[in-house]
């Protein structure tokens, strides 16, 4: 085996693992466009030093509000699920004890839930 990514083995067996394999790729393709756009927008169009409360509030409450809220919500959900599922892959590689695996997975699921709840809350409820 000389190349790690000759082809990432598509997991066989559990439907959940096949779905998760597929999700990583589908969300990855979308994230590539959305995250690169997000970074260029924040660094180049706005500029890091110009970011402040009014800029963020203006994006959500201004004329493009619906667009930015949808954009941020999509990014939040896609990236949180992709990232936490990725962390699950990594921990599965290094933690072999069944009990600890279960504990770590539960923690990852809890963090994912908190990310979507906290992130979603501000996107939905912000009103200036």
């Amino acid at each position: 085996m000389t190349t790690r990514y000759a082809r990432t083995p598509k997991p066989s067996g559990s439907t959940f693992e096949v779905l998760s394999w597929f999700y990583m790729r589908a969300s990855g393709a979308l994230l590539a466009l959305m995250v690169v756009f997000h970074l260029i927008w924040m660094h180049y169009v706005i500029g890091l030093t110009n970011i402040d409360f009014d800029v963020i509030a203006g994006r959500w409450t201004g004329p493009g509000g619906i667009f930015w809220r949808s954009y941020d919500l999509t990014l939040l959900i896609l990236a949180s699920l992709h990232g936490m599922n990725g962390i699950r892959f990594v921990t599965d590689d290094y933690i072999h004890n069944r009990g600890w695996r279960a504990v770590v997975k539960a923690l990852i699921a809890l963090v994912l839930l908190l990310m979507v709840v906290f992130g979603g809350l501000v996107i939905f409820t912000f009103n200036g």
């Binding site: 082809r7 083995p9 990855g28 110009n50 990236a79 990232g83 990725g86 962390i87 990594v90 501000v122």
Partner: protein, 130 residues
Amino acid sequence: MSANPKKGFVSSTLSYKGGIGHWSWILHRLGGLGIAFFLILHILDIFMVGVSRAAFEELLFIYHEPLLRPVIWALVFGVFYHALNGLRIIIQDFWPHMFRYQKQLATTVWVIVIVLTVFLVGVDIAGMLA
């Protein structure tokens, strides 16, 4: 996908005798983990926008502090590498015949990553000087 489970994390990660694919795997993994941890922090700082203006302003140093710029640039590089290398993985997984061009694809990934990273770092530096 997994490191050799019979060895420890560090030794299996460092002793694997792979070619270019091994390093891209390590970098892809480090990038993914780095972005994931930043995302948690980022959700919290943006959550503060909803708490109060003052609460958010307390955290604005993350984006304003010049001393933190190298950390941001490392993250920017990590995001671009993970994104472009991820696209390469996706292409090779769905179109296995592309795997003949793995070297060319890997080179393309590096070229795009370097161009994007240099562009954003340059834009940040220009903003700091302005």
